[in-house]
């Protein structure tokens, strides 16, 4: 069960990270737009569409990744006072009550929406270049599908936690700088404490 859980985690992380690079494409594209507008007086017809498409793909596809890393905000004032077992019980209930209905609806509605756009071969009215957006709209059902998949992994997490009384560990991944620094400090402290114990016993 754990292997299955981790393989979903890996898929979500891989997706989120791969689409994370959209930020570089967007940044370079928009910078080029500024240079070419201001210096060559030749605005590009594509930069505007590129920037929001990159942004849309980036954040939609990273949704599952954020869920797998517990990066979506929660109001955890009371939550963190609970025992892991009770946390898991509450979460499991709420996944079925809110998460799955919402995400399945987004998948269903998103497919319809994108399909309609596809049949019309829709183009953006905001775009200078009359940019096609019908394939872009498929990002909604696709992203929702991966979030749904990650939701299954989260349910498995809850079940494991309810059985074992502790949350299963996450795979190693990049962390916010503050988290890394605080952990580094804690490790340092532990090593210092260990040494202290050792010298203490030697005395």
């Amino acid at each position: 069960m754990r292997d299955f859980l981790f393989s979903i985690d890996r898929i979500s992380a891989w997706m989120g990270k791969a689409f994370g690079w959209c930020i570089m494409i967007g940044a370079v594209g928009s910078t080029w737009e500024v240079i070419s507008t201001k210096m060559f007086r030749a605005p590009t017809p594509w930069a505007y569409d590129l920037s929001y498409m990159m942004y849309g793909c980036l954040f939609m596809m990273a949704g599952a990744y954020a869920l797998s890393r517990d990066a979506h905000v929660r109001g955890d004032v009371f939550y963190r006072l609970l025992k892991p077992k009770s946390q898991a019980r509450i979460e499991l209930t709420l996944y079925f009550l809110f998460f799955f209905p919402g995400i399945l609806a987004l998948m269903y509605a998103g497919t319809d929406y994108a399909w309609e756009s596809w049949t019309l071969r829709e183009r953006s009215v905001m775009s200078i270049a009359w940019f096609p957006i019908f394939h872009f709209k498929f990002i909604i059902p696709i992203a929702a599908f991966f979030v749904f998949l990650q939701g299954i992994a989260q349910v498995i997490r809850c079940v494991i936690c309810m059985k074992e009384g502790a949350w299963p560990a996450h795979l190693h991944d990049v962390e916010e700088l503050e988290t890394t620094l605080v952990h580094a400090r804690e490790d340092e402290q532990e090593t210092a404490d260990d040494l202290g114990v050792k010298t203490g016993s030697a005395d």
Binding site: K17, I23, G26, S30, L94, F98, I140, L181
Partner: protein, 454 residues
């Protein structure tokens, strides 16, 4: 049950579920979906052709709201600014900045605290990320200050309060998010926040220098030459290689937005490229750091923008059910004058800052107040700047004082959390003073937007 009653039920249930600690964006999507289905459900036609289980208009609403987040042209700047921040916090820039500012400020009382405050303010403005500034400075400036026999609380307060200034001083991500929530122009909001931002930083600075002058024991004078020696070279050169490149980058990004040369997204994109160049210049641009920045940017953008997906769905359904007008009638029925209304709103936001983070407050709760602003003749821009000032406190007040926890996490074990909180308290007073001044002289916020927009 009538629709408005259902709306109140919806809001109450939502607040209850927040307390349970479920990821908020999915609670919002799920609840919006459920209550919306109820709203559009028509028992009379249900079951007839074209009115099956899946023919509810809520599906269209859900996907339309989602697409409007995807195609929002201001939110596109959010990942850009985040990425710029993640690159800059990995650019080995903060120690140079701190030491050169310390050498430059060596003739002032509490030189180290002044330098730490200035470093925090500039760095957090450039990165827009609170935690990183506080931990980095907690490892760098905090031990230096303690070694120089600074009072622990005094030193801790400087770092926590200074690190939060970045959410007010533009180009801040929080103001950008508010501008989307409140449909205010981000350009005007940035223009409006400049003077209040400097005012608050100035108040902090005055407080630090004032306290150190009255009670020099708090901040013993460091050997002035020592600081200059650490640099091993001229102070001017040190400033030129550390302070100015970062300051110019911020000013360029901000200037481009305010002068209308570029949209916030484009300006932030040039900021990304500029910060990459800066990191390269400081020999800090490694493949690992770039990857870290990209991945963290993806995660944090997903957090902010999915919250919008949930919130817009939820609030559309809430207002279809008539929830917004119930709240509006209730507040208008209290017969408040504008001052009382503003104070009430700010007190509520202050209290929400205890358990919640800024993103939830700005994206979910502030929009509840927004429709009432015209009744009281309050400018949404002015309100936004008051909120931004107010939210400084949400990082500083227990139980969820993130700034204090980050500092505690990296400080030596003998530093108590209580000492940090004690050091932070005076800055809360400064924030309230700043809000009072701003309320009495709204021109501080409204003057620059008027110039920019005529």
């Amino acid at each position: 049950m009538t629709d408005p009653q259902v709306a109140i039920l919806m809001l109450t249930a939502f607040i209850f579920v927040i307390m349970l600690g479920f990821p908020i964006c999915f609670t919002l999507v799920g609840m919006g979906m459920g209550f919306g289905y109820y709203y559009y459900f028509n028992a009379a036609t249900f079951g007839t052709p074209g009115h099956g289980i899946f023919d509810n208009q809520i599906f269209d609403l859900l996907v339309n709201r989602t697409y409007s987040v995807i195609s929002n042209d201001i939110l596109t700047a959010v990942p850009m600014f985040l990425f710029m921040g993640y690159i800059l916090e990995r650019a080995n820039i903060i120690d140079r900045l701190f030491f050169s500012l310390m050498a430059a400020a060596r003739h002032l009382p509490a030189a180290m605290a002044v330098a730490a405050l200035a470093t925090c303010a500039i760095f957090s403005t450039a990165t827009g990320i609170i935690g990183a500034v506080v931990t980095l400075m907690g490892l760098l400036a905090f031990p230096s200050m303690l070694k120089a026999n600074y009072d622990t609380s005094f030193a801790a307060g400087v770092i926590c309060a200074g690190g939060c200034l970045g959410i007010l001083i533009p180009p801040s991500i929080m103001l950008l998010v508010y501008s989307v929530s409140a449909s205010v122009s981000p350009v005007q909001l940035y223009a409006g926040a400049i003077l209040p931002g400097f005012m608050l930083a100035g108040l902090y600075m005055l407080y630090v220098i004032g306290r150190a002058t009255i009670n020099p024991a708090l901040a013993p004078k460091v050997n002035a030459e020592e600081a200059a020696e650490i640099l091993g070279s001229n102070v001017i050169i040190a400033l030129l290689t550390s302070f100015f490149p970062l300051a110019i980058l911020i000013l360029f990004v901000l200037g481009a937005i305010l002068l209308g040369w570029a949209t916030p997204t484009e300006a932030a994109a040039t900021g990304c490229i500029g910060s990459l160049a800066l990191a390269y210049g400081y020999k800090a641009l490694t493949w690992d750091r770039l990857r870290e920045a990209v991945y963290l940017c993806a995660r944090t953008s997903a957090m902010v923008c999915w919250l919008f997906v949930g919130s817009w769905t939820f609030s559309s359904v809430f207002s279809l059910l008539g929830g917004h007008s119930v709240v509006e009638h209730f507040v208008l029925g209290m017969n408040l004058d504008p001052v009382a209304f503003l104070i009430l709103a700010q007190v509520i936001i202050f209290l929400l800052g205890w358990p919640l983070e800024w993103s939830e407050i700005i994206i979910i709760f502030v929009p509840i107040f927004l429709p009432m602003l015209p009744h009281f003749g309050v400018d949404p821009l002015f309100f936004g700047i008051l909120v931004a000032l107010n939210l400084q406190t949400s990082f500083l007040t227990p139980p969820m004082a993130m700034a204090a926890y980050y500092l505690k996490g990296v400080s030596p074990p003998h530093v108590q959390l209580v000492e940090i909180f004690r050091g932070v308290m005076p800055y809360l007073v400064m924030v309230f003073i700043a809000m009072t001044i701003l309320y009495n002289f709204p021109e501080i916020a409204l003057y620059l937007p008027k110039i920019v927009y005529g």
